[in-house]
Subunit: 213 residues, 2 copies
Amino acid sequence: METLKLYDFLPSGNGYKIRLLLTQMGMPFERIEINILKGETRTPEFLSKNPNGKIPVLEIEPGKYLAESNAILVYLSEGTEFLPYDRFLRAQVLQWLFFEQYSHEPYIATSRFWISILGKAEEYRVAIEQKREPGYAALKVMENHLSKHTFFVGERYTIADIALFAYTHVADEGGFDLTKFPAIQAWIERVKAQPSYISITQEKFMNYCYNLG
Amino acid sequence: METLKLYDFLPSGNGYKIRLLLTQMGMPFERIEINILKGETRTPEFLSKNPNGKIPVLEIEPGKYLAESNAILVYLSEGTEFLPYDRFLRAQVLQWLFFEQYSHEPYIATSRFWISILGKAEEYRVAIEQKREPGYAALKVMENHLSKHTFFVGERYTIADIALFAYTHVADEGGFDLTKFPAIQAWIERVKAQPSYISITQEKFMNYCYNLG
């Protein structure tokens, strides 16, 4: 089998989802850093891989690309312990993946991007303020669920946890106060205790194949 | 088998996705109108069905609920002609479903909501203006793809087409000019020519069970 290639940006939570899953699956991959701050997702070469101009992109074999972090998570986890086999449980995983991309990421990840990646909290002050209420609403939905469950689906660690963990555990970098959410905090610790856990900006992975290019 | 119940709002494209698929599958369902303009997704009763307070919600059997339109599409279409069996094709369907919810719906559907559902184009003028560029960017990604393909995945009509069709074919109601996108327009006609096609606000469905409650 070809070694998987991951077009990625190290501070990205969406990229981290894939790194974390691949590492926990014990699957080797080559990581190719794409600096989104330098327009590297807007080059003709990158747009030929993902016309939507976003990382992460997984190159499954030469010329065969898959975009959208949560679609990549599902693709990789099918048939593994990270995605339930039961049809309704699998649907619930998808429900949380779409919740993450629609009701969570646009508020919590975007605030972190402006404040901690770009370092432009003042310039984006009004926009950041507008993200507060819907961001906290998403955290409340999670807190409510986690106050009754150990993980998001089927009381087991799945890609639903990976997808929601990626930006939630660094929500403070976007100015969100997690101390108000004890169930989320306990869940974060449960995720961090999973085998082969790696942190979001960890450069060296188990099975990590350094990009020599 | 229990009759499926769909908690829905007739003008909603996200609700329409499910109505269209169920009708094309020939699957009976009961539609329960939830008026989102009257706060009916914020009642304790509705929040017990979907804590995120959004329609559509599918009630699979009494007390067993599934939210997020695109998760519902996948759940219903598994094992049918509307979702490919091949693993990579299925991943591509998911890629387009996440594209729709992240890069398309928040711009194109939201503009339509403000202009044509709420009828408040003037009040939301600045916000609508901000949605123009990313909305057209999403349409360009679609146009580019459809200039080389008959449908989004595998040259066959799938739930990827249903998900993207729902808000694209009424994008003009949000002030987007589709005359610039000939490949999208031709694809819209191909979708409308599919067997058992219904329009977005069609009240009577094949197999439609009227909610007597």
